[in-house]
Amino acid sequence: MEMEEHFFRHEFGRIVAALTRLFGVNNFALAEDVAQDAFCRAMETWKLRGLPKNPSAWLMATAKNRAVDILRRQRTARASQPELTRFLTSEWTLVPTVEEAFSTYAVKDSQLRMMFSCCDPLLSEEAQIALILHILCGFSVKEIAQAFMSSHAAIEKRITRGKKILAGSTKLFDLADADLPARLSSVLQALYLLFNEGYHGSSPEAAVRMELCQEAMRLVNLLIEQPALVTPQSYALAALMYLNAARLPTRLDGSGNLVSFFEQDRSLWDHNLIAEGQALLNLSASGTELTTYHIEAAIASMHTSAARCEDTDWTQIVSLYDMLMAIHPSPVIALNRAIAIAQLDGPERGLQEIHVIHDLDRLSSYPFYPAALGELELRRGNYPEAKAHFSTALSLARNPTERNFLQRRIDTCKN
């Protein structure tokens, strides 16, 4: 029997959440220690004896036993969450309360509450994402630093500060709290950014990026599975993730080279994800609020529903970009809009649109801005200009994959 991919990582997130509920957020370090201990025991035992019949139950049982020991001996219960103290100080209710905290329902609930706790408004978005990855997804500081191409020290600082903020409260975020709607939108934003880091991020490793997307999807699923939390906005975010993730397999070719969107083999898109994404998009179409998630999901769906690139409804896509610019203008969105306009009305129109983008300087280190200029000049047959733009893009490339791709575009200009 083999372990599922990232089994330890996912179980770690579940167990830490359950333990935090029992010990109180102010005792988060203890929850982490107990989880770490359970996982060390699992590793030491399984590596010689092989996997138990139910590895997940084995880990939970180990963590539960340790939790009962600690709560009984050290009477940490006194310092734990007020909501549970009563049950943890009495020997009659201690074990059933611990059992209950590890039930499937309670674990999911604790994970959700933990996710909301991690999105504390006192923390920057970067810190919220780092904390979510660390606590709910079991990533180490080193793994987060690698995924974000960031320094170990910077990530460590974010996480340490995050944990300090968490430890400031005793209870996990209460889903009945009046702040729920505001906090929910921070959670959605953090998951959106996590997904985007995977989708567009700077890590050179396709596998790492795929993992970040998958983690974001796993967490958004927790949200939409909980009837009390699901909103049209959450459905829209989930739809956007599914529809974009469906295209992940074709972004790199067999040799690990980046493939231009227009040249991707659409038969390799994940059609199950497309179907699920489309269903989620339909579910998101209720209520009165039209969010950026809705529009981005709709754009993604325009792409996934076109069998061939030539079949794409660019008129519709341009108008969706117009809506996006109206709600949430940004230079990257403006750039994508210009590219869509070029598809519809030709490269000259696209270039004109690029030149009038506000805050163009904010794109000055973004390699796909000069690359877009290069692409459009190339289509006009202006090889020297195209080559110059691609060279600028090359100098901004963030990893070998991007460098390779841009070098190949430069080579195209020689013809």
Binding site: E2, R9, C40, A42, M43, K47, L48, R49, G50, S140
Partner: protein, 112 residues
């Protein structure tokens, strides 16, 4: 075939759940391979890195496994090999070396 014990020494907790999973999988693959070839008499048992040591004429009691972390026995297996050379050869694939640990190979004493 002669029986040998592998004592696995040296214990280093991997830094992340993902690394733990990879490590666990490596060990399982290594032992399964030896086992499939009929060279494992017993997978043995893991030993937790806690315990007591009773020592000397005064029977002094010390907490913990006495030795330094790199020398602590973390488990054992019983291996079947032609001779100690072959037992040594089989040990070379053990993932413990990646963590700076060691495998001590010992033949059983014979009665006859």
């Amino acid at each position: 075939m002669t029986e040998f014990v592998y004592f696995y020494r040296g214990y280093e907790a991997p830094a992340s759940p993902e690394e733990m999973q990879k490590k666990t999988a490596k060990w399982m693959t290594w032992l399964k391979d030896l086992s499939d070839k009929g060279h494992v008499k017993s997978l043995g048992e893991p030993l937790l890195p806690v315990g007591k040591v009773v020592k000397g004429k005064k029977k002094q009691v010390i907490d913990g496994p006495y030795a330094e972390a790199k020398d602590v026995v973390g488990g054992y297996s019983i291996i079947l090999a032609r001779d100690i050379e072959q037992a040594l050869e089989f040990s070379l694939g053990c993932p413990i070396f990646e963590d700076g640990g060691s495998v001590e190979i010992r033949p059983f004493g014979q009665l006859d």
